[in-house]
């Protein structure tokens, strides 16, 4: 099946609708936003939107690899909440010995990254080695992490020590040359992800695994290792996203990261990655993430529709963006 699409590759025409679709949707949204509100294209608003997209965006890059390799991860939102809670607890506990300073922030970051990798490896292990459906495993861990953070917080909210939060705060709000850290980190991860997906062997292995596991296996691709690595990488990226998230409000609770998994998956699919696996596009995912956060932003900046309908507008645009691609595929 997929070999046919690769054999069509060397034709030099206009880029197909599956590439243009999400880009057009994004351009239309930006045009709508700009015409509705003069502040829309202001530096402050662009910074706001990009910085708040960074959490979902960083996670969605990892999700692109998982989905391309034929997997799925529903646990990322809960995982982010759990890691945020863990990070806050560890940093608060280390405060008397380490004091406020760079070391304690680094400790928090190391905890977040290690916890992320461990959580990702656990998902990957259960899926590849034990051989349980990805949907079931990650549905299970989704519930587990969500309950764990509720339990850690006693049903309430875990808050970073106030002095510590003030010290850590610049990691979300400051940056270099007016570009805030979350945006910089997001951009670096996207570039790395895009190279890994389209230029490196690992990306090809992911696509091969997702397209046809048996064929990939006979082509000397270590299917299980590839899958395991995608989950571990996603876990790592959830850790990175959490490092950016915690300094924003300095707290974690049972409502942290709610529905992030669905937003990340939606962004990946809007961007043109195939839900069944076999083909992935990291830059497309970025467009998907931007489309999702722009919808919210535009609805807040204008008085177009009743706020009760925000979810409906979002749903319509997600489906439209995917239909644009589907049409093109059916014709082409």
């Amino acid at each position: 099946m997929t070999t046919e699409t690769t054999s069509q590759a060397p034709r030099r025409k206009l880029p197909s609708m599956s590439i243009l679709g999400p880009v057009i949707a994004l351009v239309v949204l930006v045009a709508i936003g700009a015409s509705m509100n003069s502040n829309f294209l202001g530096a402050a608003n662009i910074t706001n939107v990009l910085a708040r997209s960074a959490f979902i965006g960083i996670i969605a890059v990892g999700m692109t690899f998982v989905i391309t390799a034929g997997g799925l991860d529903l646990s990322v939102g809960s995982m982010a909440a759990f890691i945020a809670g863990l990070m806050i607890l560890v940093m608060n506990a280390a405060l008397p010995t380490l004091g406020i300073g760079i070391p304690i922030i680094l400790l928090g970051m190391v905890v977040a990254i290690l916890a992320g990798i461990a959580a990702g490896l656990l998902n990957g292990f259960l899926i590849t080695v034990v051989g349980i459906e990805a949907f079931i495993v990650t549905l299970g861990t989704m519930g587990i992490y969500r309950s764990l953070v509720t339990w850690l917080a006693d049903g309430g909210t875990l808050s970073l020590d106030f002095g510590l939060r003030t010290f850590y705060r610049p990691v979300y709000f400051d940056g270099i040359l007016g570009i805030s850290w979350p945006i910089i980190v997001f951009a670096l991860i996207v570039i790395f992800g895009e190279v890994l997906m389209s230029r490196a062997r690992f990306g090809r292995h992911c696509a091969a695994t997702g397209a046809n596991e048996a064929v990939a296996h006979y082509s000397n691709v270590n299917v299980n290792r590839t899958r395991l690595l995608t989950y571990a990488m996603l876990g790592l990226l959830v850790g990175v996203a959490t490092i950016m998230y915690v300094p924003r409000l300095g707290s974690a609770s049972a409502s942290t990261g709610l529905l992030w998994e669905l937003e990340a998956i939606a962004a990946v699919i809007i961007g043109g990655t195939v839900l069944k696996g076999g083909f992935g596009r990291v830059w497309g995912t970025v467009i998907g993430v931007l489309i999702l956060s722009l919808i919210d932003n535009i609805l807040n900046l204008t008085d177009l529709v009743s706020p009760y309908l925000n979810g409906a507008i979002q749903g319509v645009i997600i489906i439209l963006a995917v239909i644009l691609q589907r049409e093109a595929k059916a014709k082409g």
């Binding site: 309430g156 609770s253 807040n300 706020p307 009760y308």
Partner: protein, 315 residues
Amino acid sequence: MSYMKTILASAAVAALGTGAFAQDTKVIGVSIPAATHGWAGGMNFHAQEAVERLEAVYPDLDFVLATASDPGKQVNDIEDMVATRNISALVVLPFESEPLTGPVQSVAESGVWVTVVDRGLSVDGIEDLYVAGDNPGFGRVSGEYMVSKMPDGGKIVALRGIPTTIDNERVAGFEAAIEGSGIEIIDMEHGNWNRDDSFNVMQDFLQKHEEIDAVWASDDDMAVGVLAAIEAAGRDDIQFVLGGAGMKEMVKRVMDGDSMIPADVTYPPSMIATAIELTAVGMTSTAPVSGTFTIGSVLITPENAEQFYYPDSPF
């Protein structure tokens, strides 16, 4: 041998005695929504605490506590309590009024004592005891405070909770209280009682409106997000933010005289403890506890903040 018999006999008598005693034990079922946001977290904390305390006080009372993450699960919980635990009383904080009315009604018809907390059912007269939060009053007290703080009027933005009856009642109460005062709500969006959502909404409000005099965040979790957004934007036109519910961090800021958080309005999650306690009294004594018990929303100011500050509660 005869000693043995006596021991056996007395053991049997003791066993019978405890057996009879066990049959007298009454079970109280408590069904509440899960700790999905700060207020619910506090409510869960107070429910657990009340259950632990009352189990120690009343040895012949047994409690079953179930938390539900959606109305469907709550109905299942209640059915399970009736079917398997043979409860004598049910304390329920309905997730939503409509879906829970039927199931709770059938529990009441089977002769079980029913205490409803916070949200009323859609049909009157089902419950024996109603421990009510005062949502219109919550909005009214908030609105009256806004009017007293801004006698010359002003432009405010408001954040709403998750679209529910509670939220509608609060907003209606608020709007009625500020009517004709010159205070104008220039924008209103749902922040879903969530810190992150309200942070995003407030960032966008700050982009959209050049001048905002005050914010009605209507909830302390949302106030946290609003304050972070204002701080990050570096805007100094906003004079104050009014939250609600009585989260300990916010009560502390009121107590310390923070000018951005000059007051707070209570909607105490500990009302669940009031309900469980009253139900336990009704089960174990002849004191009448049926009727309606309304827990009013009170304005917290620097003068009285100390009596609303519970440092041990998670909320």
